[in-house]
């Protein structure tokens, strides 16, 4: 009784997004859902001990859209999802601003939780975004974290 075509919404944009509205829309498109999981990623006020004034996010137009779609397709292939929303911003973001959201809808909770965490882990390691933190002490590019690469590895399927 899962609808044939899952709902997909993938956006790369400078503008802010309305998490509440996006989740309502996801629910409306997935009337059979028993579970909806969302992740909301925010610019932190502190980074490496300094107060953050803003964060600049650069991306690779053209490649970004393809990378995000590929991540969503992988999730849809691995879990019985009814719908997915993925929105990632770029440009200059203030402290506490929203950076990214991923939301998943499924019949049962495990698929929604796993697929949402999976997409965040893959976003962190496969989507061409680069963050620069701008604070009182200056600007610095955020370094890729080994922990993010490890988080991705845990989703490896047995050969």
């Amino acid at each position: 009784m899962v609808t044939a075509q899952p709902y997909k919404r993938v956006l790369v944009q400078a503008e802010d997004f309305d998490l509440a509205m996006e989740m309502q829309q996801l629910r409306r498109h997935c009337p059979q859902a028993g579970a909806v999981v969302s992740f909301d990623g925010l610019v932190r006020e502190f980074a490496k001990g300094q107060v953050l004034q803003r964060m600049h996010i650069e991306h690779y137009p053209g490649m970004t859209e393809k990378a995000l779609l590929a991540i969503v397709e992988q999730a849809l292939h691995r879990w019985p999802l009814l719908g997915v929303t993925l929105i990632h911003r770029y440009g200059d973001l203030e402290a506490r601003a929203q950076i990214v959201m991923v939301a998943t809808a499924s019949l049962h909770r495990q698929a929604a939780f796993d697929a949402c965490a999976f997409m965040m882990d893959f976003l962190k390691t496969e989507a061409p975004f680069w963050k620069k933190e701008i604070g009182a002490l200056g600007a610095r590019w955020v370094e890729a974290r080994e922990a993010d690469e490890q988080a991705k590895q845990q989703w490896s399927l047995p050969e």
């Binding site: 690779y60 490649m63 990378a67 989507a127 680069w130 590019w141 890729a144």
Partner: protein, 85 residues
């Protein structure tokens, strides 16, 4: 062979280019050969590709490794490990 090269983030700031069109000698057709060819431009380029900071590459929007080959008209991109999400 003519290709477009794009640079992003820290690498863009180091080389001071965001994109360029280059005409390559015939033997330069892999990412590793392209890195080597660009390194001949001087110290900045040499340090970039030989230094400890990893440089990732994409051909036509697909992440690739050093041995990947490109063709006439392709878009090659160099950038640091990604930090989105």
């Amino acid at each position: 062979m003519n290709i477009t090269i794009l640079y992003f983030a820290r690498i863009k700031e180091v080389v001071n280019y965001s994109s360029e069109q280059v005409s390559l000698p015939d033997e330069v057709e892999t990412i590793i050969a392209l890195k080597s060819w660009l390194s001949n431009r001087g110290e900045t380029w040499q340090k970039l590709f030989s230094g400890s900071g990893v440089v990732r590459a994409a051909i036509n929007h697909e992440l690739v490794d050093d041995m990947a080959t490109f063709d006439e008209g392709d878009e090659v991109a160099f950038f640091p490990p990604v930090t989105g999400g």
